[in-house]
Point group: C2
Chain length 346, copies 2
């Protein structure tokens, strides 16, 4: 068995250079190496699918952040799901479905000493399909859950606005806010996405930022103002919402995808003094702070998936690791529809 495994070739994508603006082909390096078969206590995973997330763009930059940057020459960091194909650890058996941070490669070899910090964990495909473990039941879902519930603290009857509404985090935020009794207005790009979040996910309304003005849309759809804004995009849309918040509003700063590929300074919210006028709060969150409470959130969200109150959509792209660079950039042009997932093995 070990002999067969060691003849396998592992294709990888490594960070070749720190991008300036939108990543280009020159920022990536394709490598291949024999699969590293782990010794006693280790686990080998065949990667099935990778999660492509806006946060990846930040991981490619130098400098202090909530997580160290990916080093030049290192395999690009990525969350993913797969199947255990060799195990020297009593907690994992061949055939187990697992999730974690394999990085952009076909095989993930975890030595015994790295296991505790690897994030490797079994996933229950009875609660959701593998790609849902990269979406509602994975990092985007956890981000949505704790960002909305802990930081945003929605109350029934309040008006909640979420940008990136058809994206991985936004779709769960909006549906969860509806389940909690809020009125939910999404902001998304294009008629198809807007129609989907309203008709399929049950949002009360959706503003298409590619057509007409978000400001006017908010005025029309939130005549009494916004109690809670879950921000995934930053830029002008953040300012448009700031201009319409109500007293004691909460703005959850989850991301700012409109700014991640800036080659000039980030656009600061010029309407931030609306926080003063409205005694409002703008607060950042990082999902990794909530790791110990993931099981509670997974159980609740899996319940909603199970009883049909929550739906999910993954944008599954084929092509393996070679397709990674182009697929990642779909996030920044808004070309993805739903949680962007790169299939690595069928």
């Amino acid at each position: 068995m070990t002999e067969t495994l060691s003849s396998l070739v592992n294709h990888q994508v490594r960070l070749a250079a720190r991008p300036v603006g939108l990543p280009t082909a020159a920022d990536w390096q394709f490598t291949q190496e024999p699969v590293a078969v782990p010794e006693a206590g280790g686990v080998l995973v065949k990667v099935g699918a990778l999660s492509l997330d806006p946060a990846m763009r930040g991981w490619m930059n130098e400098g202090k952040s909530y997580i160290p940057p990916v080093g030049i020459g290192e395999v690009m960091r990525a969350g993913g799901v797969g199947v255990v194909i060799a195990s020297g650890h009593p907690g994992f058996a061949v055939g187990d479905a697992v999730g974690g941070y394999p990085g952009v490669q076909e095989y993930w070899s975890i030595a015994a000493g790295q296991l505790a910090r690897s994030g490797l964990a079994k996933i229950d495909l009875g609660l959701g399909r593998a790609t849902q473990w990269l979406n509602v039941l994975g990092m985007p879902g956890m981000t949505a859950y704790f960002g909305l519930m802990d930081v945003g603290q929605p109350k029934a009857g309040e008006t909640v606005v979420v940008s990136g509404a058809a994206g991985a985090v936004g779709q769960t935020v909006g549906q969860l806010a509806r389940i909690k009794g809020c009125r939910v207005v999404g902001i998304a790009g294009g008629a198809a996405k807007c129609e989907w979040v309203v008709r399929e996910l049950g949002f009360d309304a959706c503003i298409d930022y590619k057509v007409g003005s978000v400001k006017d849309g908010l005025k029309q759809l939130c005549p009494e103002g916004v109690d809670l804004y879950f921000d995934n995009v930053g830029g002008d849309i953040l300012d448009d919402v700031l201009a319409r918040i109500r007293r004691r509003a909460r703005i959850v700063i989850c991301g700012a995808i409109s700014q991640y590929n800036n080659t000039t300074a980030v656009q600061g919210p010029k309407n931030y003094l609306s926080l003063l006028v409205n005694r409002a709060r703008m607060e950042g969150m990082v999902v990794f702070d909530y790791t110990e409470r993931y099981p509670q959130a997974v159980a609740e969200l899996a319940g909603y998936l199970g009883d049909g109150r929550m739906k999910s959509r993954e944008d599954l792209v084929e092509g393996g690791v070679a397709a990674f660079p182009d697929t990642l950039n779909k996030l920044f042009t808004g070309a993805n529809f739903g949680k962007l997932v790169l299939q690595i093995a069928p």
Copy 2:
């Protein structure tokens, strides 16, 4: 008595136009009229001193805010202290020292029906001198108290930074944070102000924003970062602090004096994503929300004044209502040193 009173002339300053940028002479109108002697149930106050506050600039602008704008042709809104010179109300006697919102005029006549909403209240000169009732024991002190304690929630041992450190709000914020066991770094303009807040008020350090870089000063004086920032100024200084906040930091948005006379858009904080990275919170406050708890804060602050743990400085300008326009602008050039007070009557 009424006959004597009605022969008095009341000089007033009214808002003539909405300023563009720094207010100019053309934005003000000087008027005079006979004193309105109140009927039964009303009170007449001879104004002693007026509070000049950065917030006044906002009150001069059109548009929705936390308080209606001053109307064109109306007496300019202002807090002040004075003495009751006629009373038809059992709660006020001639000779009582009082505070409230008289506006920029020499006599404040409050009809019976307006009394409840006028803010008129007796002040105890045994707790602090009249000008301190416009400072530590007045609106700036209340702003400092509730902004720091309720919104900022300081913990002993934390590092607190306050801008406008020698100003009305800043001086109380810094001293109160010291009393609560925090390390306090001020930011002020000029060596004299910096020396005063350190030597007289006991701040741990002060950065002179007119000499050298605030960014470098923060790096040197807050090597482990900032836990709580009380912001009175906005602009570049807010960005400099955002770049140095610690995890779970709180930024209290009290004002943004650097931006109040902008003729272009407000400068948004381009480093706001530091809130995300550091799971930090930026929250606005308006002092009027805490009216019911003023007595508690006054009692505590008066105690500190009494036992010498807190000091105050008022920048008392003579010249009566005629001096109002030029005196107000001292706030925006930073020419005041301490709480700016305009003396109306000796």
